[in-house]
Assembly symmetry: C2
Homo-oligomer: 336 residues x 2
């Protein structure tokens, strides 16, 4: 067994694109569990675009990250030593483990939850984790789909977008997804059963949105911001709902980032643009998880994970979200 | 009695600031009422910033205006000849009369309503007209004020803003108004009883908003857009409502108009930005009018009109809205 605990720290608040020098891989001593504590060995860590905002301290809904802090992140781990009956050796837990190979907790200092036996661990970190909940509450509570609605989704082959898109199909909507490769678009209209897909990297997005959303967009579920948000605002139906879930096109820009110049169309189309933070719905996570699990079991919901091996590849895996290399949820397998 | 009917036509779709050459004053023959028709002599015409959007055909929620069309506008008129028992000679009516001194209608070709005897006609065109209804539905239905909320209002000395501000006070909110002169600010904190006023032309708006909205803005009622909207977005409380009623700072700009660069704060503050068109609430105008009339009678609601004399001054009166010369509702008195 290892005697060192590899950690990745915030080395610099990023400016513009993420760089390897924004991260620092260090070897800390292996921690030892005290009374009531357990030693966790990280299995998977999840990557999210929002992490860049955390690194920049641009996202003020979470505590600031200081230089030298272990990178913040959600993951699953195996209990390898235990002085706590609630977490027996061998059980698998999830929580905000941070970017490190090992962690000691009493279950409260870093809150963890035991995963049910036999659960699909990668799925538990995507469709059945915070990602699925984000898609669920964003679409159902902010978007409020009505049968027959036309729903446009950007980043539709991403972790959240792909689930939101399928939930909109389940709700009886016409769903058009936007993604950045032919492979992704094929996945959207194939396995996911969307009504149309737009490859924003090679197609004329404005023309294709007009063409595929003829009666106007009832719900725009936005993961990207920027020019595509403006095109969506330009094509709203009356009483449309614009769900602001992410803005990945903005995350790598510095200085003055342009806002949606067509926002005033919210008046002409008597429409609403609304943001949300999924943890505000924490009291309803149980209800939503049960619904997502049911959809999954009934085969109504596909999910996909892009899994990169090796703890040292965490920075690359995070960067890949911004170049759009991943399909579905991006994970790193830290140990088997 | 006159034998000509002066009309003001759209002469050019405006580009940038309104110019006198965008309008054309013509003398048309006096119209003659046929069977079932009445002849109306215009008394007052109302001016609204939205008219510029109509002239530009930027506002697509109304029918386009063609070059040579009589300018669109709302007004009050006296029935001077009548072949229709519903509208006896001497009665005062209101409706979309257009920019002209005389008009023939059967009450349907141009829908008109008889004003109750003894009504304050200028008030009927502001606080008790579409302006008051816009303030009411924008604040109450889109803003949804809760007692104790901090409400920030731009264009607060304008027709709609001044009523929305007072309705927010009546709802038990702390209300901060923004306006462009010391006289207007004095009116806001004096007669209107607002908690603070910000003179955006001479004060540091960002600093003053931070200072007067310490716990964050719960409702921002926006009549101006531009930089002030961005400052408001930067100072939202959680679960804030941004009511987009107008965007006068944008109306004279050409080319690419910047959008609110801080829109992503809607996510961090889990907030909502929403537009509306008052006519969507038409089925509830009666209810709202009764409430506004009650507030007025009980002395809870002040109103003010800026009245310019002379039909030929319509273009000047419209332009004055964009230089901020008016306080309250801008009207033109066309005849006594």
């Amino acid at each position: 067994m290892s005697t060192v605990n590899r950690q990745i720290l915030l080395n610099a608040h990023p400016v513009g694109d993420l760089k390897h020098s924004d991260f620092k891989l260090v070897e800390a001593p292996m921690p030892t569990p005290g009374e009531g504590e357990v030693l966790l060995q990280t299995m998977y860590l999840a990557l999210e675009p929002a992490m860049k905002g955390w690194m920049e301290n641009r996202a003020d809904y979470v505590a600031p990250l200081a230089i030298g802090d272990v990178m913040r992140g959600y993951g699953t781990a195996r209990v390898t030593e235990s002085n706590n009956d609630r977490f027996p050796v061998g059980s698998v837990v999830s929580g905000g483990l941070g970017w490190q190979e090992y962690l000691v907790t009493d279950g409260k200092s870093v809150p963890i939850q035991v995963l049910p036996e036999g659960v699909d661990i990668p799925a538990s970190m995507g469709v059945l984790g915070v990602t699925g909940l984000t898609a669920y509450f964003g679409l159902m509570e902010i978007g409020k789909p009505i049968e027959g609605d036309t729903v446009l989704i950007s980043g539709a082959a991403g972790a959240t977008g792909s689930i939101a898109a399928q939930l909109a199909k389940i709700a009886g909507c016409r769903v058009i997804g936007m993604a950045g490769s032919a492979e992704k678009c094929d996945w959207l209209t194939g396995e996911l059963g969307l009504d149309a897909a737009i490859n924003y990297k090679i197609e004329d997005v404005a023309a294709r949105v007009r063409e595929t959303c003829k009666g106007g967009i009832n719900i725009y579920y936005d993961n990207v911001g920027g020019e595509i948000l403006d095109i969506a605002l330009n094509n709203l139906a009356d009483y449309a709902r614009v769900v602001i879930c992410g803005g990945i096109s903005r995350y790598n820009l510095t200085g003055e980032i342009p806002g949606p110049k067509n926002y005033f169309n919210l008046v002409f189309r008597r429409s609403r643009m609304e943001g949300f933070i999924v943890t505000d719905f924490a009291s309803r996570f149980g209800e939503a998880s049960a619904i997502l699990l049911e959809h999954l079991r009934e085969g109504r919901l596909c999910h996909r994970e892009t899994i990169t091996d090796g703890f040292e590849n965490m920075p690359n895996a995070l960067m890949s979200l911004f170049t759009g290399d991943n399909i579905g949820k991006q994970l790193v397998r830290v140990s088997e």
